[in-house]
Symmetry: C2
Subunit: 454 residues, 2 copies
């Protein structure tokens, strides 16, 4: 029964070449996380639906992949349930687990569940896939990796500073030029208050968040539709149009919203972060952007977003401070702050800018050609010496035609092919062919190893 | 709405300490795989049920985690279906995807799907979790990692030799003493033929596979129950009781089963592997075990199983050759051979034998204590110097009591704490406390860095 094999839409296979590049990104990110004292955890792919439901809004609930209960899942539903078409009731009758939708909610669950074993402030990172039943489209997948880094249990702004330093370090290592945009939820609250529309906070931020995409006139139009008065909008105008460097923006913002408690606190926090950052070397541009909102209902303090300078691809990293993430699981009052790196977007930037390192680990350095059984027995020992010298090496398994063996080495990106036929075995001088230059060297093994190790 | 958070039974959270140890295992395995020229691929967690079903037997089909279709999954079932209780029909009406059950079937699917892009022989490794709706019990989980390494597209026995060399290398690096047991499906076929019970192959191997557990008398009893005659059993006796070193066993096996085509081929293959292995250095014991069967219906040639010498825990690695794995997906006649390493079992062995390295990467080397805002600004620069020197370091984010900061460093396993108060800032001499010995050093930064880098 031959079938044409395929994979579910929105999911991907990763080839060896792609994995080398993906691992380059993951390794770079992971190394920086560890270098700054963050520790790795992992959580299960499946969480109880009670953990996941209601955490991502109605749309999010719908986008959770739900797992059918094993065993007789039918025992909890009746023909009447199907007749009534009550899909929600039936869903929860036949499914009690779902695939994680992000790494943040499982992290909050983890912190509460293991609170007695955790050393706070808890600096953790987590690099794992997440699943969303979104409609697949270019650049949007149903399975994708998130790389999250968070500190929980400290409200010091030094944490924000550390995250910004890590972002800078990671993209510096990846050679991607970036802008780090910075805002504070309290500044947004202050803005809504000073324009006399504190109840319209979400409407305001949703609209002005689109400034880059739709332009100022359309933002105003949307604000009108969302019920803001012309007075409100007139007062908002100087705030939205605020420009200049961070110091100038901060000065203006303090004037404009510093009169409210939130506005004053938010601008002071931004000031403190900016001041700290002056003490260290940051390669990226760090820009205060009073229009930056990002999932506002979630964040309570700093809001951070990172864009690549030379590629128009949306944000490559983002996050912020949330003051009560663990409250939903029964541990209130624990402040956290974190960011998430988008591996797929970063991959696309590196590819588009041709920034992947040319020589990447992930393939064989030396292949020994196979000349038959007797030669293979001999080659096995040479292979052992090469590998013990730290050189990744393989012996072609079959005594195939030399052309086929060379093609294999070539397509696999093997750097050197070593030829040890009967003659070479006797002479003790082996031939080494550089597959990139085509150059051939005939020498004793120790010399060839020196050559390979460069 | 506070809930007591938990995770689905049979799944696990991994703490930072556990992740350091798990990553030590994965990194060791991965490095050896790469060193021998194997390349990494990844496949999606979800596969189409049509890919997975029927590949693991009836029991396996039942143990697949199935994913509820998103959207209106009810539209394909009627109240009558529920009334009829036809759980299979309903399952496939409301679910078309499942979580992968192992890495072998997805690999076969991958090879067929991407056959035109693959360089054969294809040497791939894959380290990813798999899911099984098994009843959870000690050491058996519903989510666990497999570390698979396979060559596909070559029937040379040099591949078996390479796998054995890798197994030896990995466990040598992990410092676990092992026995590698070796058999060949064709020897088993030969045995069934010479005792005149070729149709009883599965019964024979199922029974003698239990030799270690239930003893010889119970094996005979089981064989009787499975319909073998006393004649059959009498002929089987010398084969089962065969002992001695590999040469002796091979000589006897050739005498006993070499008369059949299968038996002759199987013993010759074992002989060739054993001969190749004499050319290289293998630390492990390699033992031919004519009673080794392991998932017989799957393997067609070599059968490999690895046991830890000092811990009674079942096999820590196993695999074999399969001649037509990709046939089910429409690509017949491609031979493959591979083994799978059990990370959880290996973890348990390392823990029981106290073999995890004492100093493992995964925590901060130096923590700078926090004495307040002014000192923090200063400390940020020192932090930067430390990190740029390749030292993983962090600044405690809050100006908390020194006792609390020290406790944090201690519980996190931080090696050094650096103290830079007002006095130290002025003097340019900072205090470094070794958290393991309690020793304190007061010196200029460059000297302290030299000390830390040891």
């Amino acid at each position: 029964m031959a079938q044409k094999p395929s994979i579910p839409k929105g999911t991907r296979d990763f080839s060896p070449e792609e994995m080398v590049r993906r691992n380059y990104i993951f390794d770079t990110i992971r190394n920086v996380f560890q270098h700054y004292g963050y520790q790795n955890i992992e959580t299960p792919a499946m969480e109880n639906l009670s953990t996941l439901m209601g955490k991502y809004g109605e749309e999010g609930d719908r986008l959770l992949f739900k797992i059918l209960n094993s065993g007789d899942f039918l025992k909890n539903i009746t023909p009447g349930d199907v007749e009534a078409g009550n899909i929600n009731k039936i869903t929860f009758s036949i499914s009690e687990k779902g695939l994680r939708y992000d790494l943040t909610v499982p992290f909050a669950r983890y912190v509460v569940q293991h609170r007695n074993d955790i050393v706070f402030p808890f600096k953790r990172y987590q690099i794992q896939p997440v699943w969303r039943a979104d409609r697949p489209q270019k650049g949007r997948y149903r399975e994708f990796y998130q790389c999250d880094v968070d500190v929980i249990g400290s409200d010091s702004l030094l944490n924000e500073v550390e995250l910004i330093r890590m972002i800078d370090d990671i993209f510096k290592k990846l050679k991607i030029e970036i802008v780090i945009k910075l805002n504070n939820r309290k500044v947004l609250t202050g803005i809504a208050e000073v324009i006399d529309a504190p109840d319209k906070l979400t409407d305001i931020t949703t609209a002005i968040d689109k400034l880059d995409k739709i332009g100022i006139e359309n933002v105003y139009e949307e604000l009108r539709q969302r019920g803001l008065s012309e007075d409100n909008i007139n007062m908002l105008e100087p705030i939205i149009n605020l420009s200049g460097d961070n110091e100038k923006r901060l000065t203006c913002l303090k004037e404009l919203v510093g009169g409210t408690a939130s506005g004053s606190q938010g601008t002071n926090e931004l000031q403190e972060i900016v001041d700290y950052l002056k003490k260290v070397e940051i390669k990226a541009d760090v820009e205060i952007d009073q229009a930056l909102a990002r999932g506002l209902n979630y964040y309570t303090g700093a809001i951070i977003e990172v864009k690549a300078k030379d590629v128009n691809i949306g944000s490559v990293c983002g996050g912020g401070r949330y003051d009560d993430l663990t409250g939903i699981f029964g541990l209130p009052g624990v402040s956290g702050v974190g960011v998430s790196f988008g591996a797929d977007r970063i991959y696309d930037v590196l590819e588009e800018m041709n920034l992947f390192p040319e020589h990447q680990k992930g393939t064989t350095e030396v292949m020994l050609a196979n000349f038959g059984k007797k030669e293979s027995e001999f080659a096995l020992r040479v292979l052992e010496v090469l590998q013990n010298s730290g050189i990744s090496a393989e012996l072609y398994p079959d005594a195939a035609k030399m052309k086929k063996q060379m093609q294999y080495a070539n397509r696999k990106g093997v750097h050197y092919v070593m030829l040890i036929g009967e003659e070479e075995m006797k002479a003790g001088h082996y031939t080494l062919k550089d597959m990139e230059t085509g150059e051939q060297t005939k020498e004793v093994l120790s010399e060839l190893i020196r050559l390979i190790q460069g």
